[in-house]
Amino acid sequence: MAEHTWHKEVCDLARGAAGGFLFGIPLLYTMEVWWIGSSAHPAQALVALAVAAIVVYGLTMLNGFRGEDKGIPPIRESLSDTVQALALGFLCASAVLLVLQEVTWQTPFSEFVGKAVFEGLPFAFGVALADAQTQPVDNQALEEVEHKHPVLADLTASFTGSVFVAFSIAPTDEVPMLSAPMTPFALGVVVATSLLVSYLIVFVAGFGDQKKRKSSDLILQQPAVETALCYLVSLIAAGGLLLYFGRLDGHDPFTLWITQIVVLGLPATVGGAAGRLFL
């Protein structure tokens, strides 16, 4: 049995959260889900929670987020992972709802709980599927795949992943809706969250070639530099998509460009981080 240290626990939770983000971020940008969460009857939310708990239990039995392949775990272990996946789902979804100001301190508590439950459940599925989504890759096999231009490969993968995730969100009304009330401080929080989530997925969660990345000698592949550089690429991808779908044009004020690009930049960064690991 693996030793339980705080480092391992943090890595496990980070892996779970990363899986949750990859699975749940598109629904966090869907206003219909906010509305379902706000208007749902408490009994509906309880039934959704109960059904989701059963599904999450099944997923943690088969996959889980602890990166350990030891066959079907004991019932007690699966149950505790289920509760942790649900809690992680609620926490991450609530945090993003707060960052996007879809939930504020003025939001009635009942509405907050409804939104956190309906947005948190898909997040919890993502947590329970973290290992399956992002199976830790055999480092030896990865060492054989050497890119001639690793930085360029990272930037290309980041751009592709960003476009892949943000493509379905860019043309929707949610982006201008979420951008409209953003203050400079709130935008700063969105930027910080994007960078944190990207770092979490690529350098903490234990997916893919994390060890190799951390030991790279290239300055541009140092964790902080790479995270910032790839965030910039994700912002460029987000801006390009908003232009492509006619959501932004030359007549729009500069502040509108910035807010919409930063708001779409969050899901684009999640896609970009996944792209760097798996493309």
């Binding site: 939770l13 208007s39 309880l46 929670l49 509760v83 809690a87 009942s110 509405e111």
Partner: protein, 118 residues
């Protein structure tokens, strides 16, 4: 204490808090069910941009959610209309109507004209 136990206890508390709140809300709602009740509060008139702005706050004081809440305002020959997509129980939405005439010297009416149940 083992780290996984600490996070498990925290997780149990969080999930239990959500579940208990939903159970409590369900039991209370069974006693206090009823239609939504969108209520308008009109703020102080402001003179700006060559006209007059009348801010308002729309609050749902009923126990259920309203959709497409239509707020209309009229002042003499001038009128305005706004639709709030979604108003949950206890939720507040702020907005404003703009007029050319001074609302303080005319008969201003701001009211909720309709809403839809989800």
């Amino acid at each position: 204490m083992r780290p996984d136990r600490v996070t498990l206890i925290f997780s149990i508390l969080l999930v239990a808090a959500f579940t208990s709140f939903l159970l409590h809300a369900w039991l209370v709602e069974r006693k206090e069910s009823g239609p939504p009740m969108p209520v308008i509060t009109v703020g102080e008139v402001r003179e700006e941009a060559g006209g007059y702005t009348v801010p308002f706050t729309l609050t749902n004081q009923g126990p259920s959610t309203a959709e497409l809440v239509q707020v209309v305002a009229s002042l003499g020959e001038e009128s305005g209309e706004q639709v709030v997509d979604f108003l949950a129980f206890g939720e507040e939405v702020e907005g404003a109507f703009m007029f050319r005439q001074d609302p303080r010297h005319g008969k201003l009416t701001v009211r909720v004209a309709s809403y839809k149940l989800p």
